[in-house]
């Protein structure tokens, strides 16, 4: 346990003024009151840095790409310093046996006191042979590294839900982290990738308060995943008014109406895009005129078209949605009723005739 965060920052030439600015910015982005700002500063001044081991399983590194672009330059600097990122395949200088030795060293030295951040997920089929690192399956490395961890952060949709490599038919049986690691606190930070400030926000919260943020039922931090895109969307007014884009190049599209009819997944997606936006608040999908794909939702690759907000149903072997199947059932019922009624009427007429005929025969 060597330097505190503050000492590291000062050593890197960051002024106290900038440091305090960062603290108040963090307090604001975490939705905390003004009173929390001195607490954050106090924590950063006194607490030793927590080592973080950042593992990469089956993934595309988009989470890392997002993370290193955390909007505020200062945030990026601070977080990279704060973290004491001791192991990260894609960012560290060490390689080979040297790199792998770091994991063992951290495990030994900081037993039960380090964080594991996992980007991507382990494939389980064929004993995990679809993802080999340092000559052995990633799933083994993951389990060993997590064994003594304080908590595990599952970065992105891959680690949280499986994402594209777990999409039907999932040939490698790519499996989300919380299905592989049990008995440890796991924080899911879904998104493909998650928003940079959400990632740094989660880390900052954990380091500052020394506890994991409040999570919802799907283990996502409530502060960033508590509401749907739709709930905070700046085009929500057009939704309520009934003003929709009907085609990509129509008048409504130019006016920036609601993209609901174009298959925007905002109403069924939990993320902070509509309030925090992307790339330092520059823009986000809906603002650029395209609907949300729902990338932070479980199994978003298997929910039918990106341009259709009514979910596809695969059980019937063909691409269908609730309306086509339901409509077919309703029409089928109607047709069956019509046929049944026709037969009923016919048999009534026939039996009526029989009654008349027997009546005529028995008549004197």
């Amino acid at each position: 346990m060597t330097e505190t965060f503050y000492e590291v920052l000062r050593r890197q030439g960051i002024t106290r003024r900038s440091f305090l600015k960062f603290c108040s910015l963090t307090a604001t982005s975490l939705g905390l009151s003004a009173a929390a700002m001195p607490k954050i500063a106090q924590a950063l001044e006194t607490k030793p840095r927590t080592p973080v081991l950042w593992l990469h399983g089956l993934e595309c590194t988009c989470c890392s790409e997002s993370f290193i672009r955390s909007a505020h330059p200062l945030t990026r600097d601070v977080v990279l310093s704060m973290l004491s990122l001791d192991y990260d395949d894609t960012l560290m200088a060490a390689a080979g046996h040297q790199a792998e030795a770091i994991i063992e060293m951290v495990k030994e030295k900081y037993r039960g006191n380090y964080l594991v951040a996992v980007e991507g997920n382990p494939p389980l089929n064929n004993d995990g042979m679809f993802c080999i690192q340092g000559g052995r399956p990633f799933v083994e490395k993951l389990k060993e590294t997590c064994a003594d961890a304080k908590a595990i952060i599952a970065w992105g949709s891959c680690a949280s839900y499986g994402c594209v490599q777990a999409a039907r038919p999932n040939p490698t049986r790519a499996t989300p982290i919380d299905k592989v690691i049990t008995g440890k606190p796991i924080i899911n930070v879904p998104g493909c990738p998650p928003i940079a400030e959400v990632m740094t926000g989660v880390v900052t919260y954990m380091l500052t308060f020394d506890r994991i943020p409040e999570l919802d039922r799907q283990k996502r931090p409530k502060m960033f995943y508590g509401q749907r895109i739709h709930d905070k969307c700046y085009r929500r007014g057009h939704f309520d008014a009934g003003q929709f884009v009907e085609a990509w190049d129509d008048e409504s599209a130019k006016k920036g109406f609601c993209l609901y009819k174009m298959g925007c997944k905002g109403p069924s997606t939990y993320n902070a895009c509509s309030s925090m936006r992307w790339n330092g608040g520059v823009s986000w999908p809906v603002q650029s005129g395209h609907g949300c794909l729902g990338c932070s939702e479980d199994g978003f690759w298997d929910r039918g078209s990106f341009y259709d907000h009514v979910t596809g149903i695969h059980q019937f072997g063909i691409e269908a949605d609730a309306d086509t199947i339901g409509g077919a059932v309703a029409i089928g019922t109607g047709a069956a009723i019509a046929a049944h009624a026709a037969v009923t009427v016919l048999s009534r007429i026939r039996s009526g005739r029989q009654v008349q005929e027997t009546a005529a025969e028995t008549a004197p």
Binding site: R228, A241, G242, F244, E251, G299, R303, G326, H340
Partner: protein, 234 residues
């Protein structure tokens, strides 16, 4: 008072009619209110998923989706309240009030009657049976396509509803588990919508069967749900 002519006609060709009081007033009221609510819910729900053509002009001048959703939510609250009230009535009402909640699965005669009704609807039986309460085949349909489905629709509906009332509230505590259980918001929407189609199909079938039995069977049906009296016509 009947006229002289009418009395004569009644004496010559009238049937003896027996009547039994089957459905009590609260149950009848619930049935018709419920039918109305189901239509409102289906139409407004359909329009939430597939909205009407876009409106032009300023957003502030319209509140189309707002109204449609408002109607849907109010009707849904009434539907849920009705369902709870109906469940209560199953405890305090007469034995017919319990029928759609408790199927006599263990009763062999009942199953034989289900089979008989199936044959009757397939035109294999020429004379229909008479029942004081629901006919067993209808009851089977009602149980799965109304009772079970109605609770399913209420749960998925409130599950979706509490998504925008926000995490941490009473609604979230009561129904927040539904959406994750079904694999996400979009999946829940899908089941809710599919449920609507099944429920509407059942409603159409129900109306058809009621009219058909009113005409063909030897006892009253639709009027029973209005007056409460089951009339046996021979």
């Amino acid at each position: 008072m009947l006229s002289q002519h009418d009395i004569q006609e009644a004496e010559q060709s009238g049937h003896q009619v027996y009547s039994v009081y089957v459905f009590e007033a609260p149950l009848r009221a619930w049935h018709w209110v419920n039918a109305l609510l189901m239509v409102i819910l289906a139409v407004s729900g359909y329009l939430i998923g597939k909205p009407l053509p876009t409106l032009t002009g300023e957003a502030a001048d319209h509140y189309m989706m707002g109204y449609v959703r408002f109607v849907h939510f109010i009707a849904a609250y009434l539907f849920a309240a009705g369902l709870v009230a109906r469940l209560y009535w199953a405890f305090v009402g007469n034995r017919h009030a319990r029928q759609i909640f408790l199927l006599p699965f263990a009763d062999k005669t009942w199953w034989r009657e289900v089979l008989f009704e199936l044959r009757w609807y397939l035109f294999l039986e020429s004379t229909p049976k008479k029942y004081l309460g629901h006919n067993p085949m209808a009851l089977l349909m009602m149980f799965f396509f109304f009772t079970v489905l109605a609770f399913g629709m209420t749960l998925t509906g409130f599950g979706l509803y509490v998504e925008f009332t926000g995490a941490g509230g009473v609604g979230d505590f009561l129904f927040g588990w539904v959406v994750p259980l079904l694999g996400g918001s979009q999946q829940t929407h899908m089941w809710h919508r599919l449920g609507m189609w099944f429920m509407m199909s059942f409603a159409v079938l129900h109306v058809y069967a009621a009219i058909r039995e009113e005409v063909l069977s030897k006892h009253s049906l639709i009027s029973t749900m209005i007056s409460g009296w089951r009339m046996f016509k021979d």
